[in-house]
């Protein structure tokens, strides 16, 4: 693994700890406004300053990690499972199932830009954290399904799969015991990149007011609330801090994904 992926791994580990122990780490109540302490610069009392309503930015960023990771994990987990099952069935059985799934369903989903589809979906479902997660899952499973379908097509021709058939193993056993354990390695990489995508999508939608409703300390919401000229002039850190949190988290997952890809595929390993 190269240095960037090590950075990614360490950053993500820290982020997970921060999210887990957020109530212990935060210095202030995330919702407490204080009009006497607006636009404060970083100080001993407020480590990263305060925003337009006097809320502590450090505490809000810490709790924001909970929302981002929760969205990322749930979306990747749920869409990964849905995608794996559908991709495995399409790849293993082929025929009309595969023609419908990979010929039509995949293409229809991939024809729309992901974020636009998510916006349309949220507009239809309504705003809220769980609806946001649902929308991202509905969009996200296609990538996993396509990946797994390709892997299953390859692995299903291996001799040990043929041997299992010759030994009378049933289809579900062949798929889950013989094919999938030998097919899901690339899924690990895809999941890491998927985390980055989901974190970014949550921030984008929240920024647009289509994600988590405002009082919640989502990084996207924080950016949206700091999006005015006064804040930009008087307290730019109110914008920079959540922006940096998003950028670093997305970068960390991307670096980790690249590192994993290199690690799992020796042909791409340099030297």
């Amino acid at each position: 693994m190269n240095r960037l992926s090590i950075f990614g791994l360490v950053f993500i580990a820290l982020l997970v700890l921060v999210a887990l122990f957020a109530p212990l780490i935060a210095t202030h109540d995330v919702g407490a406004t204080n009009l006497a302490a607006r636009y404060l610069s970083p100080s001993a009392e407020h480590w990263l300053g305060t925003d337009a309503t006097g809320r502590d930015i450090f505490s809000r960023v810490v709790f924001g990690a909970r929302i981002s990771l929760r969205v990322g994990l749930v979306v990747v987990f749920v869409s990964g499972i849905i995608g794996t099952v559908i991709g495995a069935l399409a790849g293993y059985y082929g025929g009309w199932i595969d023609r419908i799934v990979s010929g039509y369903v995949f293409n229809v989903f991939l024809a729309f830009p992901g974020l636009l589809l998510a916006i349309a979906m949220v507009a239809f479902l309504g705003a809220g954290l769980n609806k946001l997660i649902l929308a991202l899952c509905i969009i996200g499973w296609v990538g996993y399904a396509r990946l797994i379908r390709g892997q299953v097509l390859k692995v299903r021709e291996y001799d040990f799969v043929q041997a299992a058939r010759a030994l009378g193993a049933r289809d579900w056993r062949i798929i889950f015991v013989h094919i999938l354990p030998n097919a899901i390695q690339p899924l690990i990489v895809q999941a890491s990149l998927g985390m980055a995508g989901a974190v970014l999508a949550e921030a984008s939608l929240s920024f647009l007011g289509l994600g988590v409703p405002p009082p919640a300390p989502s990084w996207g919401v924080m950016l949206e609330e700091a999006r005015d000229l006064t804040t930009l002039r008087v307290a730019p850190h109110a914008l920079i801090v959540p922006g940096l949190a998003i950028a670093l988290t997305v970068l960390a997952f991307n670096f980790l994904g690249d590192g994993l890809r290199e690690y799992l595929d020796p042909r791409q390993r340099r030297r």
Partner: protein, 379 residues
Amino acid sequence: MSTQGIEAGGTGNMPPTLMPEAGAEPLIAIRELKVHFDLGGGTAWDKLVGGSPVKRVVKAVDGVSIDIFPGETLGLVGESGCGKSTLGRAILRLTEPTSGQVLFRGENLALLSERRMRQYRRNLQMIFQDPYASLNPRMTVSQIIGEPLDTFGLARGREGEARIRELMETVGLSPRFIKRYPHEFSGGQRQRIGIARALAVDPDFIVADEPISALDVSIQAQIMNLMARLQRERNLTYLFISHDLRAIRHVSDRVAVMYLGKLVEIADARVVYDDPLMPYTKALISAVPLPDPELEATRQRIVLQGDVPSPINPPSGCRFHTRCPWAIQACKDVVPPLTEIRPNHFAACIRISPDQPDIEQVAPGDAPGLRNPGRIIAQ
């Protein structure tokens, strides 16, 4: 325990040659079996989008009929791509036959539903070529050999483990290694695991698809001896597929020769090697080096010109006519039937007959458009 990779007591002697007696009941009877793979093309749509203007079909197996008798080893030889592996897989329904019959104890396996076919898989097993690809890398030996016991509910738990240990000993593996993974074994040991897995269901018939081709020569003999011993002890019937002519001669009772999806000659193993009839078989056998240097120096080789034609839309008539020195016009038009030229010796060639079995006595071919005349050269 250091000898666990080496079989004790194998002498290399096969059981006495078993000729199918008149009226003997075959274990497997294959009738006009065809396995075609459609590559598409030929439709109006293909012409529109620039696809192939003619329908392209790979005729991997094209009308093969043969009987396999209980207790015998039938060797199946041919060059790469002649369809011998496809034939073996089609018998076990690992590849779906396009048409024809595979009769096992009177039941046509080619027509069974997948569910009914499962019951017959206990009787019909397979040994694979590549001992590295044929074992699931994420399963232990115990799981690999135990899987068929599980699937068919033959033995469970303590009893199952006892069976697995017993099977490992049968194939010459130490049961100490029961919890190991395939990558911890050598090629020969892995092939033994594959054999133990096939034996777990106590089958009657085993398709051995190039079981020794991926192994070192020294290991090849061990595996052949192991298979011969198991055949004696368990009354197994083998279809032994290989391109290794010397291995086939060593293990087989009868030998069938395949060329481009068709059987061209079948006879007792010794007869095929010492007195082949069909021109292709003659060329094939003449390519085997002889171990005796003096004999080797005088060996006559028939060197065929050109390559094997593509199995996509193969040649008409006799498929060998494009390379056969004895081909005449009729060879392009007539598909030669497998004919009993001598007792129990079948060949598919219209230029020989029971009255004139020796192709060398027949006038060389004059077929117009013959692109690749073969020639006989002394080496």
